[in-house]
């Protein structure tokens, strides 16, 4: 399987461990990542707020790059997944398509709309398939209770994102189950992490993050796992601030999706960048009989 790898900004910067883990897992599963140094940022939802048509055009350019190479796109971020998918959806509106084409055609860029945008979660559960994944598990995550945290844009709006179910998704839980972990069901798994307003009104964002972490903990989670590096920033990098805002300890390790997969497939915690997390993952790693060296 060969896919156009769209890492997004954060996985190339502060969320580098997500990129490391994705590469490790894809190598282990024989997924070939084609790289395109001309991919731009997806706009992260913020450019959509500033200028809807511009946002579609930026992403039509990204999709056209993959289309020229004859590849579907692999995303590792719920927001990138959402924005690239949204471009495909908005381009069905002839008025939007006309304006976008008007900007792209003079540059010799044409996007015909053939590219499918697939998040790693979908590639693992549908293209690789859970039986094949399960066959490669060498370190079952037995005993580890993990709360999947989907991230908004992977799911909603459901009619535009083509998600399995906006309210009761189960792909992530099925994946965790295949890895030997025990998925934890809690209301917060489909809620918001607060990230979009982390720099607009930090305390409100942190209260929202703390609500989901508390909910996962109340349902017995040893850790949460997320398919979105922006959720990871909110839940991990700012967890200490969230704890201070709500006035109680949170102390819950937060994994990136491919880190949980990598652990089950035998990667070392260091190869997956786990020592880079702000919240130590040691207690969760001890439960599956491993630890980080760095």
């Amino acid at each position: 399987m060969r896919l156009a790898y769209y890492p997004g900004c954060v996985a190339q910067e502060s969320g580098k461990e997500l990129d490391m883990a994705t590469r490790w897992v894809c190598r282990a599963l024989g997924i070939e990542l084609a790289e395109f140094p001309n991919f731009s940022c997806c706009g992260s939802g913020f450019v959509d707020e500033a200028n809807e048509v511009l946002n579609v055009a930026i992403n039509a350019r990204n999709l056209a790059i993959a289309e020229r190479a004859g590849l579907d796109v692999l995303t590792i971020c719920s927001t990138c997944q959402g924005m690239l998918t949204l471009a495909n959806v908005r381009l069905r509106d002839p008025a939007v398509k006309g304006r976008v084409d008007g900007a792209l055609k003079p540059l010799g860029i044409e996007y015909r709309g053939s590219v499918r945008v697939k998040h790693l979660l979908k590639v693992l559960t549908e293209d690789v398939g859970l039986p094949a994944l399960k066959a490669k598990v060498v370190r079952p995550l037995g005993g580890l209770k993990v709360g999947a945290f989907y991230g908004c844009h992977l799911l909603r709006p459901a009619d535009e994102m083509g998600s399995e179910s906006a309210e009761e998704p189960h792909a992530f839980e099925d994946l965790l189950d295949a890895l030997g972990a025990t998925p934890v069901l809690y209301r917060g798994r489909v809620m918001c992490c607060g990230f979009p307003i982390q720099f607009v009104k930090p305390e409100t964002a942190q209260r929202i993050a703390a609500t989901q972490i508390d909910d996962a903990k109340a349902h017995g989670a040893d850790a949460m796992a997320t398919p979105c590096p922006l959720c990871h920033i909110s839940l991990d990098s700012f967890q200490n601030k969230a704890a201070r805002t709500v006035g109680h300890a949170l102390d819950l390790p937060i994994f990136h999706l491919p880190q949980v997969v990598g652990l089950a497939l035998g990667a070392s915690p260091d190869e997956l960048g786990l020592p880079r997390h702000l919240v130590p993952t040691d207690a969760a790693l001890a439960k599956i009989g491993t630890r980080a060296v760095a």
Binding site: S14, A50, L54, R156, P157, K201, A205, N240
Partner: protein, 324 residues
């Protein structure tokens, strides 16, 4: 032939603040056809098993918006949520009052916060008394003008969106999805003369607290798509004023970041959003993150083909209006 029935199990939130110390969940069992609406089931429970069960409803036809409540944690109209699929997915039907509004009794909430936010946006046309509309033409608009807010009049003010909104839960000052969707409707109404004032006033008062999580759009029984109307409102606010708030500066800064390098520079966007003082106030956290993730200080190299992006911006990105 009547439809075959299935055993339905309900766990209904019961709470009378005047008498009870804490809420409890009461179980009721009854056999029902799978197509039975949750509201009809609750009314049967009240008629046949427990006359004290308190709920609000009126039309039973998804028009009046009175019976919004949480069914298995989702904010829904009880009259159009059927028991069959709920039983199939959950094995039980947990019925709770809407969130983000205080419980008066059982499934009935005090909707005052919701209505106060709605009143706060002045949900009526503001006309110019100096230039009254010509006699008999007071409502004249072109179809294209009406098209711009065709979704919003479908709203039945059921408050399901308000109940589903995490920003309301975390910050009661946030106007909520319905009030903002309605505000959008007046801002783009060509007869309203206060559009600019409305946009200027809403920016420091909650517009930028929307998380665009789209939970409201999923909850809305009338497909008003409040989160998308809020997005529309944000774009209009930026077109009117540029970056004046943390939220609008963040959106404008993001757009500039991508034009300049093609990728986001994490530290730069924080500085653009929060200003130098804001950045300084977050220095402690920045250092904590930097120790683990030194890349936050690095600016990414420009992408290949940046000139293409520049041209796309030239074609599609117009600067904010003069004088703002």
């Amino acid at each position: 032939m009547p439809e075959a029935t299935i055993p339905a199990e309900f766990e209904v939130y019961r709470f009378d603040p005047a008498k009870d110390r804490a809420p409890r969940y009461q179980r009721y069992s009854l056999d029902l056809a799978p197509h039975t609406p949750v509201l009809s089931a609750l009314l049967r429970i009240r008629a046949e098993q427990d006359p004290t069960l308190t709920l609000r409803y009126s039309c039973r036809s998804a028009i009046c918006g009175s019976c919004a409540m949480q069914v298995n944690s989702k904010s829904r109209l009880a009259c159009e949520t059927q028991i069959g699929p709920e039983m199939e997915r959950h094995g039980t039907i947990v019925v709770e009052p809407m969130r983000n509004q205080p419980v008066l009794r059982d499934l009935v909430v005090d909707q005052a916060p919701f209505w106060q936010q709605y009143e706060g946006i002045e949900p009526h046309l503001i006309l110019d008394p100096q230039h009254p509309m010509p006699e008999g033409r007071a409502t004249s608009m072109t179809p294209a003008q009406v098209e711009r807010f065709k979704e919003t009049p479908r709203c039945i003010a059921c408050a399901a969106c308000y109940s589903a909104c995490p920003a309301v839960s975390a910050d009661p000052g946030f106007p909520g999805p319905m009030a903002l969707a309605k505000l959008y409707r007046f801002v783009v109404d060509p007869r309203d003369t206060a559009a600019r004032a409305r946009l200027v006033r809403i920016q420091p008062n909650g517009l930028w607290l929307c998380l665009r999580c789209h939970l409201c759009t999923e909850a809305c029984p009338k497909d008003v798509r409040p989160s998308e109307r809020i997005r529309d409102l944000k774009e209009l606010a930026i077109a009117e004023q540029g970056g004046t708030e943390n939220g609008s500066r963040h959106a404008v800064g993001f757009k500039e970041n991508i034009r300049d390098r093609g990728l986001l520079s994490e530290m730069k966007i924080v500085r653009q959003t929060s200003g130098v003082l804001g950045l300084a106030s977050q220095a402690g956290q920045g250092i904590r993150i930097w120790r683990k993730k030194p890349e936050i200080l690095k600016r990414p190299p420009p992408i290949e083909g940046l000139d293409e992006l520049e041209k796309i911006y030239e074609a599609l990105d117009t600067p904010p209006k003069e004088g703002s």
